[in-house]
Symmetry: C2
Subunit: 342 residues, 2 copies
């Protein structure tokens, strides 16, 4: 008489409602196919028994898992947090649940995570950027589920993508500094090995400088991870030198924030003594004192659009064609940039 694992399943609900399991299933998945009165009885039985349907069972039947995967480099930072939240909200609103994984900027690890998500039979999958292992690309191709590279726009991408042109972002940032009259410009970027976003931004920025016949000394091409703390340290060294740049072009806003703090710590006045520009326009960048000049990447819109795109692909069954969507990025001029000191 133990009630032990007395978990209500669909047949116990059916029994309670005096109908067959099939009818309960239909009431849940295709309500228009069952008589309102029966539906009512079933609702009651569900309520009474505390039944919670088992998605695994419907997944196994070949139906969708109602799950969408998102693989990001990191969650511990503010970098992708707006994107993740927007993606999560949109996906949730469409009835899916988010399976999230973070690989810590390690593509080998990313592959493992992607496999894990596929084991759970996600209906669709979003990745950040277009730099992925060959094995990742292969397994995604084999499985043939809707996949989307988010954050980057690349007209030559192998898979659908939706985001901004990172080269453009880098170019705009460089142009802004040039236009203000800066010629002594340092570039602070993370390692660009497995990070196409940083690579494209950096390459475009450097090209723009080169085009203005500016060459930056080796010491002004700083490499630091996406971390405010480490960026601050790196910039302290850079700025303490007698011969320092008049402007800092930062790979993203968390680096820019570190740079700003370093400048403030050294008693430099921003933007009088030093201009700083970031890329991203993350939450909080507008509130910094002085407020950060940056290139806006519309993270919320990208996240929401990505979710919608994938949800549509899943709902429409039909194999969607490759789609590339480009979002504009935009210079947000705030208070950390000005012409160089005379």
């Amino acid at each position: 008489m133990k009630k032990q694992r007395d978990k209500a399943d669909i047949v116990s609900v059916a029994r309670l409602a005096g109908v067959s399991a099939a009818t309960v299933s239909r009431a849940l998945n295709h309500p228009q196919l069952v008589h309102p009165a029966t539906r009512k009885k079933i609702d009651l039985a569900i309520r009474k028994s505390g039944y919670i349907r088992n998605r695994a069972a419907q997944t196994i039947h070949g139906r969708r898992s109602a799950t969408i995967g998102l693989v990001v480099p990191t969650i511990a930072d503010v970098i992708f947090s707006e994107l993740i939240q927007a993606f999560n909200d949109a996906v949730s609103a469409r009835g899916f649940t988010l399976l999230l994984a973070a690989h810590g900027y390690d593509l080998a690890n990313e592959y493992a995570l992607v496999r894990k998500l596929l084991e759970h039979r996600v209906d669709a999958l979003a990745l950040i950027g277009l730099d992925h292992g060959a094995d990742t690309y292969r397994v995604l191709r084999e499985q043939g589920l809707p996949v989307l590279a988010v954050w980057n726009y690349d007209p030559a991408s192998m898979i659908s993508c939706l985001g901004v042109d990172n080269a453009e972002a880098g170019r705009i940032a460089a142009d802004h500094l040039l236009m203000l009259g800066h010629r002594r410009i340092a570039a602070i970027f993370p390692d660009t090995g497995e990070n196409d976003r940083a690579r494209l931004r950096r390459a475009a920025a450097m090209a723009a400088l080169q085009a203005a016949s500016i060459q930056t000394p080796e010491g002004w091409r700083v490499r630091t991870p996406y971390s405010t703390a480490q960026a601050k340290r790196a910039c302290l060294d850079l700025l303490a030198a007698a011969d320092r740049p008049t402007a800092l072009l930062c790979g993203n806003d968390v680096i820019a924030q570190g740079a700003l703090y370093a400048a403030l710590k050294l008693g430099l006045s921003v933007p009088r003594d030093l201009s700083i520009i970031g890329i991203g326009d993350f939450v909080g960048s507008a509130e910094l004192e002085p407020a950060l000049t940056t290139i806006r990447i519309p993270a919320r819109r990208i996240g929401a659009a990505a979710a919608e795109h994938l949800a549509d692909s899943v709902d429409s069954e039909a194999g969607q064609p490759l789609a590339r969507t480009r979002f504009d990025c935009e210079l947000i001029m705030r208070a950390t940039t000005a012409p160089p000191p005379a």
Copy 2:
């Protein structure tokens, strides 16, 4: 001859390897039970066919889903990001996949999300704090899966919990300001209706002030959401007044950050003219200029410990007893607090 939905399943792998499906299953789940030679053949067949096991099928069989749910108020902010990352990493290292959901500080929404996670048959579930709807508590009790309230420690909690004593955090913050000699103290907190963390911190801080026979005027009890931007605006009003406090006790670090920016914007010198203390010690708080004095909540340790606890509960099958784990919070004295101006 179309290969259409030719997805490899366990029997196709078995056929390819010349063994039975049962053996393939064993090779995957209990490798020690199958002969090394057969294992090799099976590995090869798996490789060759691109087989990816179907977790749904093993979930349905009553085995675990290898999934752990985490429900947080928000991801778009830095507040829980360290916790989420640590939780994710630890859960991942134990072979589980994270199902993440954010409810936006709305307990009704939280209930819906919890149900959704239960539909996916998460093996365990973590929630933030102990304020949850009655329906949430009920459904969790009924389902009887390992559940953990993270972030808060409460000796009277109805479910297992793991975190800090928020009242203590509030008290420490208040005591620190009192010890420095402040008597004109404003408190900036979010709405405490459905947020026990904020409520406990605030109540304890107010009690400490009261005990020192300090009463704060109505206008100094500011209410603002957990948002740097909104906190900054609220503090601008507060600090612009002729009669302003000498210290700001902030509900968490993102509010404190907003407060700091407001002070800087008004040309106040922190900590000479104004002291600011936060709670949380989020990423970036140490790098602010001046660096933020705050009460450290060991988010990474809490996240990792929570994940380990839940993974253990799942692995050990046996119904774990209610467990309450307390983490200490600690005053981190940095550069935003000092004695009040003479």
